[in-house]
Amino acid sequence: MKIKVRFFSILKDVAGRESIELELPEGAKLRDLLEKIYSLYPDLEKISGEEVGVIALLNGSYGKLDNELRDGDEVALIPPASGG
């Protein structure tokens, strides 16, 4: 199945792009997606450990690592929000 991943704020700089489409096996969870992203963009994993919390929104809602993904889902990786 195809999952669209979008990067926001500083994470866009770190990934070096705004979005990517990934192919994952059926039954993959948000956790699996994050592992795949971190393997593709090790700097993202590094910054998440060091400086900036990396938060995943699944179809626009705060996601949990156990959430199962479905074909066509959109995952947004964001740092803590900074509205105001």
């Binding site: 926001f8 704020s9 500083i10 070096g16 919390g53 929104l57 626009g60 803590p80 929000a81």
Partner: protein, 157 residues
């Protein structure tokens, strides 16, 4: 009625307040607290030239409306409106409006404060601060990280 969304232009405050009062005075409200956020001209002793706001739409608008609806259900509250601007905003430009009308002033203050915190911490809105000493990503509640020139980044190559 509760309302919330991402906007691009500043609001007319006379219209906003008149509309809230019209919705609420007959129901016994007499207190309105309005928070207006605006771009600071100086941060950390450095001059700010611009704040670039980006929102993850349509989810940011949906969450603003949900937050307005949630706080409008609070005891004594009659109306909540939340609007957040996006785009390149200069010092002195308004960025965020949170308006709460309630039966008592204490409720209006309390709910405006709480709704504002939820907007700031939950809604996927992000800012890049452009200052005389460089560009800073603002992360969460005021933490600033200087922007590095990441190779391959589409905006920076």
């Amino acid at each position: 009625m509760a309302d919330g969304r991402i906007i691009e232009k500043p609001l007319d405050l006379n219209e906003l307040v008149a509309s809230i009062i019209e919705d609420t005075a007959e129901k016994g409200a007499g207190a309105l607290v309005l928070f207006v956020g605006y771009v600071k001209g100086r941060v950390d002793d450095s001059e700010v030239s611009e704040l670039d706001y980006e929102a993850y739409e349509p989810h940011a608008s949906r969450m603003l409306k949900e937050i307005a609806e949630k706080y409008e259900r609070r005891e004594g509250v009659l109306n909540v409106r939340i609007y957040h601007r996006v785009g390149n905003l200069k010092p002195g430009e308004t960025t965020l409006y949170v308006a709460v009308s309630a039966k008592s002033r204490h409720q209006a203050f309390q709910v405006a404060k709480e709704a504002l915190e939820e907007v700031k911490h939950r809604v996927p809105i992000f800012k890049l601060e452009k200052r005389e000493d460089g560009e800073y990503w603002v992360i969460g509640n005021g933490r600033r990280i200087k922007r590095r020139k990441a190779p391959g980044s589409p905006e920076q190559s």
